[in-house]
């Protein structure tokens, strides 16, 4: 059952590491740890008119965490806080609720459906989103 979690598409997404790297002068940044395993995600962003204009992340984590961060790297540019929150809420719903959302703001979120039966891994998937939302708040605080 757990092998389905590691389908080729999610491995490819993790390896692509979209958005990996650091920004020279971010508007907001955040660093979050997974207390279970010591995984760590750093998100840095710049914003223009409320939208994320550049993003860099430094992700040291399991395959699911890295795939999640890579997904953010692929889709977050051009999103505002509401867009990121909508993506996170959809992800939480498909991880924790019996029925996945009718529509997903980012189609690749569906790759994480096989993580549904494994609550201990939900934190791995959500950590990059939580870190990005904290970076958005940090940029608000710095504005």
């Amino acid at each position: 059952m757990s092998d389905a979690l590691y389908q080729q598409a999610i491995k490819n997404l993790a390896r692509a590491a979209h958005g990996a790297g650091r920004l020279e002068i971010p508007d907001g940044s955040a660093l979050r740890d997974n207390p279970l395993c010591g995984d760590r995600v750093r998100m840095e962003i710049t914003r223009h008119d409320g939208m994320i204009s550049t993003l860099g992340h430094d992700t040291r984590g399991c395959l699911l965490c890295r795939a999640s961060a890579s997904l953010i790297g692929r889709h977050a540019i051009g999103q505002d806080q509401a867009g990121i929150q909508a993506a996170q809420q959809a992800l939480e719903q498909l991880l924790t609720q019996p029925d996945p959302p009718a529509a997903l703001p980012w189609p690749e979120l569906a790759l994480f459906v096989p993580a549904h039966p494994f609550p201990s891994r939900h934190g791995c998937v959500l950590l990059p989103f939580q870190t990005l939302l904290a970076a958005l708040k940090d940029s608000d605080d710095n504005a």
Binding site: M1, S2, D3, L5, Y6, K11, L36, C37, G38, D39, R40, R60, G61, C62, L63, L64, F118, R121, C124
Partner: protein, 406 residues
Amino acid sequence: MKTGFDPRMVRQDFPFFSSREQPYHYLDNAATAQMHAAAFEAMHRHDLENRANVMRGNHRLAERATTAYESARQVVARFINAAHASEIVFTGGTTAAINLVAASLGSQWKPGDEVVVSQAEHHSNLLPWQALQARGIVLRVLPLQVDGCLETEALATLIGPRCKLVAVTHASNVTGAVTDVAAVVAAARQVGAWVLLDGAQRVQHGPLDVQALGCDFYAFSGHKCFGPSGIGVLWGQAAWLDRMPPFLRGGGMVGRVEPDQADWAPAPRRFEAGTPPITQAVGLAAVLEALMQWDWDAVHAHEAALQQLLLQGLQALPGLRLLGPVDGTARLPLASFSLAELHPHDLCQVLDGQGVAVRGGHHCAQPLMAHFGVEASVRASLACYNDRSDVDALLAGLVHAREVLA
């Protein structure tokens, strides 16, 4: 006492194994061991027939509950060869036991007094001492050898005249390395310091002799030695316990209470405020009684043979890095390792799919992980009921996991 040891027979005493429809290779015994039937039965019978609070009432149920609870204290004393049952304090677990000692002794220490721990400690034997730094207590950390064993030769220089206590693991929950307790005790005694041993891992592997160890405090948990969770033991030399102030305050631990002051019952009661884990104490005693009937030389031979299989099998896997000593240093039958660049959580997930339970993470020992230069590892920990099929399943599972995660 029975002679010889057959893990297939022992499994019959652990209901977990007969409750499984599919074989499941449980190799996470260092986190929690499966519970012995004696504990299940004793707790069920106690709650059915003798359930009442202890050391309070005088109706027949209260009398029987108190007798059962105090009898449990005596069984624990025999299991660890304590001089007297009054040296046994029931706690919620190892963590609670160490916090008790840290808070109680720490309240008597003066700024500038020192406590020594090692870099190999579980967070439970580090954070309670770290907290004392806020009161000016100096925390000194014993370095490690490359293989994670305590650098006991550094003790002589690390333990100074202000050292009050040395608190170290009896056996590492990450490497399994067994501490050279004699060296630690000898160094501590040079300055009159006390020694606390974190026995959470060691207790699963047979009866102890705290008097022979020469330490002053010993802490362990019920769920690590095939008993229930929610109960632990602090053993302390009677002379020390009676000089220590209570940690928690409440019912059942007093001499007399007046509106503005109180005095305390003698140990161990002064350290057992509130209703203690009565049923769990009864369950713990039942399993320790059972363990004392085993032929532990035979059990240790079985565990050592399995450990050898485990270590040899792991070391034969390309890209596997074993954390801990491999040079014949005394160690418990567990192994922590990393495999190539694969993340421990991913490995554990795939292994679970193969019916193998192991632990991935930092094992609540982040300073030790830092010593090895890793954030996390996989840990396979063997218990008496494991056999060759469990080791074989792990090794085959790792080969499969490497293919799945590639």
